[in-house]
């Protein structure tokens, strides 16, 4: 009897210890299984890296002394919307970069004086990119802004014409001089002709070559300052938080109710594919959904055109560009040009194009460098098949996603749509532009 009791007590003790261990194990397992977020730690970190809250403040641009001067941004905005910056007085930057279409134009290729060689990319968020254009042939916003102004298919004017516009429009002149100092006297037409630029067109080029080196330098400086003002404006164009960002916020807060209120199951599945099986984040990574790099993804050539060589030509071009980071026109005294200095070349850049931000996806089709694909669904189909590249080597591998999976991915991509973070007064022609142009028209004989 006594012994039996002793056995019972001993059993009970062992049972209790065992039970505690089991409860501990179950509690640990249970907690692990019902983590409020269904995402693993690694996946959550991936989501955080794509979240707009991970976008660092825009770094200063030492090559542009007025990059963050609001007066320069104001002047840049006026220039951006001014059609007088063209050969025929009817093309402004905003002709192709339309604010209501996230600064694109809805066409396969830009349409201005002529037809551009490639698709009009968005400007939103590009201040973060070390390279501009599809092939990265420019290494700063200000240097990029100069090219279309003299491209015969785009604005088709000359730097001499633009510089004279700044000198003769009293409002532009005042804004310019406040930023860059006194404007030189350009009234002598024998020194400063009406139209002159180092372009392919023989007459314009001859007029430019006839000018003295010193006068050409004077004009170049003012021309570059036009670019730097436009760049100051473009630095303000930033994407705003989307529904996707609200979802990630809810994941980071471990707020399950908010997660389900923000995303449908299909959108969550689409996001899972996006960061997983579909390999999208290999290039569309970081808070802007782009690595700002160049990839050949086997996009078919534009009908009746030879394949576009892309970055392999762009990298050569930027290294010899007269307005690149190493040029005398950069305001950076130490010429810190690591991007240019360490830029790579090589055969894998044949046919490679810059990864565009997916935050600018909505309403900006057709897509790809020549607008070859009309819709996001067509783009997803393209990556699903991943055919051989026409030139170079297609980095993408066939995804073999089902129709439903592609639909889920597309649904997820739609959640990236959001209004710009930029205040609306910057997203239209400045109010005083119209008034000034009307005044000019009135004063005309």
């Amino acid at each position: 009897m006594t012994l039996g009791k002793g056995v019972n007590t001993g059993n009970r003790l062992a049972g209790l210890i065992g039970l505690a261990a089991v409860v501990g194990l179950v509690a640990w397992w249970f907690n692990r299984a019902v983590d409020p977020s269904p995402w693993t730690e690694i996946e959550t970190e991936m989501l955080r890296s794509l979240w707009i809250g991970s976008l660092p403040p825009l770094a200063p641009d030492p090559s542009n002394a007025v990059a963050d001067d609001p007066r320069a941004a104001k002047l840049g905005q006026q220039l951006f919307f001014d059609q007088r910056l063209s050969a025929n007085g009817r093309v402004a930057c905003a002709t192709c970069h339309q604010p209501e279409r996230r600064f694109t134009d809805g066409r396969a290729k830009g349409q201005a004086i002529g037809t551009s060689k490639r698709n009009t990319p968005s400007i939103v968020g590009t201040a973060y990119s070390p390279w501009l254009y599809w092939d990265g042939r420019k290494d700063s916003l200000w240097s990029q802004a100069l090219s279309p102004l003299e491209d015969p298919n785009e604005h088709a004017g000359t730097r001499m014409q633009y510089v004279r516009l700044i000198a003769t429009d009293s409002s532009y002149r005042a804004a310019y001089e406040a930023l860059f100092g006194p404007m030189p006297d350009l009234s002598d037409r024998s020194r400063f002709p009406d139209a002159a630029a180092p372009v392919a067109e023989p007459q314009l080029n001859a007029a430019w070559q006839a000018m003295t080196a010193r006068d050409r330098e004077l004009v170049n400086r003012i021309f570059v300052n036009i670019g730097k003002s436009i760049a100051a404006y473009e630095r303000l164009l930033m994407p705003g938080p989307s529904r996707f960002d609200a979802y990630v916020q809810a994941v980071l807060d471990r707020d399950e109710a908010a997660q389900h209120a923000t995303f449908s199951d299909d959108e969550i599945m689409g996001l899972r594919l996006f960061i997983g099986e579909a390999n999208c984040t290999q290039c569309h990574n970081g808070p802007l959904f782009t690595n700002h790099e160049f990839h050949n993804t086997g996009v078919t050539t534009f009908p009746s055109e030879v394949p576009d060589k892309g970055r392999i030509v762009g990298v050569r071009s930027v290294k010899s560009d007269p307005f690149n980071c190493l040029s005398a026109y950069s305001d950076d005294p130490v010429k810190d040009c690591a991007e240019l200095y360490f830029a790579r070349t090589g055969p894998e850049l044949i046919g490679a194009m810059r990864t565009p931000s997916l935050r600018n996806l909505e309403g900006t089709g057709p897509y790809m460098h020549k607008g070859q694909l009309a819709t996001p669904a067509a783009a997803l189909d393209h990556y699903n098949r991943a055919s051989l590249a026409m030139i170079g080597h297609n980095e993408a591998k066939p995804l073999k996603l089902s129709r439903r999976e592609r639909m889920q991915l597309e649904n997820f991509l739609k959640t990236l749509a959001a209004p710009l973070a930029t205040p609306t007064e910057w997203l239209e022609a400045p109010a005083d532009n119209d008034a000034r142009l009307a005044a000019l028209a009135d004063s005309a004989p």
Binding site: L3, G4, V7, G10, N11, A14, G15, I17, G18, L19, A21, V22, G24, L25, W28, M46, T281, Q282, C283, N285, G286, N291, H292, E293, F294, H295, A338, E339, Y341, F342, A343, R344, T345, G346, E348, H393, E395
Partner: protein, 154 residues
């Protein structure tokens, strides 16, 4: 009878105790293993990599901790001979790539400075994708030439 009962009772107690202790020990072991895994991940870049022909031992320190994608940064490579002597005046080239994707680094990093004591500054390194990277470093010093491949998971 009483003795039989007692021995049977002790045995039952033993079994129950043994069973729960085993579960407990297993849980502790699992947790310990998980923690050890974490520590290994943290000290990844202090590892010494031996070149293919065994001529050099190489370690690197990244300017970035942890290494994040899309940011240009530099590494300091430490190069020693197999018997632990720092290697001076070496020519060093660095190539990187992702074997899974058949592409290289987005930049052309270069050795820009010898810092003394077998240490070399490699500038212009940037990774633009998550995944498995192979960094191939070729070292030429005193007529010897050898290659080391550093594996990196981002």
């Amino acid at each position: 009878m009483t003795n039989d009962m007692r021995s049977a009772g002790v045995c039952l107690r033993c079994r129950v105790f043994f069973r729960y202790t085993t579960v407990f020990v297993l849980v502790v072991a699992l947790l310990a293993a998980a923690m050890a895994e974490e520590n290994r991940a943290e000290s990844a870049d202090s590892r010494v990599w031996i070149s293919q022909s065994g001529l050099f031992e190489v370690s690197y320190k990244s300017q970035q901790h942890p290494i994040t994608i899309n940011r240009m940064h530099s590494w300091v490579l430490h190069v020693e001979t197999a018997d632990g002597q720092p290697v001076a005046n070496a020519d060093i080239t660095l190539l990187g790539g992702m074997p899974e994707h058949d592409h290289g680094l987005p930049t052309s990093p270069r050795m820009t400075q010898y810092l003394g004591n077998g240490e070399y500054l490699m500038e212009g390194i940037r990774f633009h994708m998550h995944g498995s990277w192979e960094i191939t470093i070729t070292i030429s010093a005193g007529g010897d030439r050898d290659t080391v491949v550093i594996l990196l998971e981002l």
